[in-house]
Amino acid sequence: MTRAVRILLALALLGALALAGALLAGSAGLGWHAVAGALVGHGTPLARAVVLGLRLPRAVAAFATGGLLAVAGALMQVLLRNPLADPYVLGISGGAAVGALSAMMLGWAGTVVSGGAFAGAMLSMLLVFGVARLRGQWSATRLLLTGVVVAAGWGAVISLLLALSPGSDLSGMLFWMMGDLGRARGGVPALLVLLLTLAVCVPLGRHLNLLARGRQQAAALGVNAGPLELGIYVLASLLTATAVTVAGTVGFVGLVVPHMLRLATGNDQRLLLPASALAGGALLTAADTLARTVIAPEQLPVGVITALIGVPTFLYLLNRGS
């Protein structure tokens, strides 16, 4: 068994444990027997309602979101040739937040908020791409600068929206911005998006490895760098948009997970991308389980937990790395 297969199996096991934990933990007091029964369609109606109706969709949504964010982060890092890039660095999350908060301010909820988030993310993607290309070819630095400035602009609009909103809306808005899986729907489509992305990207892994060495080196070894970069940009943006549409702007997963795995396993994208999907999914699923159980029946925004885990881990790795 090769090293890559061993690493992926270990991470898959971790993911399975996180999912099992998410199904078992909660206030309904169901043992593993009742949960397993409900999963295969037995057990009491209450157990089935709790496990199949509440915990399973939420766990799937958490796993898919975490996986999407981690893969999007890994792709952004290759695209920008910067190991500190994350899925939100180019303003996707800012655009999504403006879309979602505007919808909330107008009194909408549910699907319209999700739709607003997706529309805002797409708008931001086109805006950054358009501006970065205004004067001929983009470079990684130019794209990064454009994205960071656009993100700062979105930040200002978000502050404005929060300042203008009635107090009753504020807590919902803040929850959305810190990441909230409580109302998450669409876990299964998100999971499909994740699987499709991996099916496309893993065969391109060697191309991505070369792109990480710079556009020129990649081109010299036969990679069509321009179209590949454009493809990565669009794909990473779509992944990020899907993730924030499902769960709001959950922080740190997209930055910390690929970075951590890179330090542990190296920078071969053929291993890094699937490993990121599994580790990101496991991390967010575990974080969400904590978020809804530590001060139950109240819930914490899951972004708080990922940040609490993410910040110290990241600082540790950064200092160990240097």
Binding site: R81, P83, R213, Q216, N224
Partner: protein
Amino acid sequence: MPLLELVDLDPDVPGRRSAPLSLAIEPGQCWGVLGPNGAGKTTLLHTLAGLRRPASGEVRLRGVPLSKLSRRRIARAIGIAFQHHHDSFPASVRETALMGRHPHLRAWQGEGREDHQRARQALRQTGLEALAGRPVATLSGGERQRLALATVLTQAPEIYLLDEPTSHLDLRHAVLVLDRVREALADGRHAAIMSLHDVNLAARYCDHLLLLHPDGASVHGPATEMLREDRLEALYAHPLHAVETPAGRGFLPG
């Protein structure tokens, strides 16, 4: 048919036009490109590798313009070792040499035993075998430069483009690297074009020379015709003295 042909080529050096350059590179030849800083040596090599579009004229690989070939097809025939390297992400020396196999592999295909063997051999040839497991970031400037050559040797192209392959190298390693280039050309089916700053290394290793002047003018021909005091003095705008030594003719700055 020449391996590589420059037809009325003006490589797009920023801020000036160059006199159209036409020359043919035949299999077995080793070309040196000499010129002061800013003469356009790197720009020319990048243009020959198809990485930059020329301002006018074209480059032909076995008679076919580079603009009509895919990047992958070009990369199988032309390998280039850059002067500068951007190592943003951690990678090992072995992985970096193995990159050279990319144009020969299909998308799904992983590197096989033969690919690893070629990488190992290239690292041995460049004296880096003992460093194979080391992170690239820990290499010295000269070791990094030799690794760039190892990657191109692993790539095994027909034409080697080397941008100052001896920069950062000590005397022994400079000779070692250029000996490897000559070995790669020994079968008479490959060619090399390298930019050099050391006239004496060029005299020792190159059979043809291209002298690039900073104003865009150029002369080229067999090395024996190019290596004259008057030509080199004009090129570098500095007096030179030719000296005869047991190792051949050398040049000292006056």
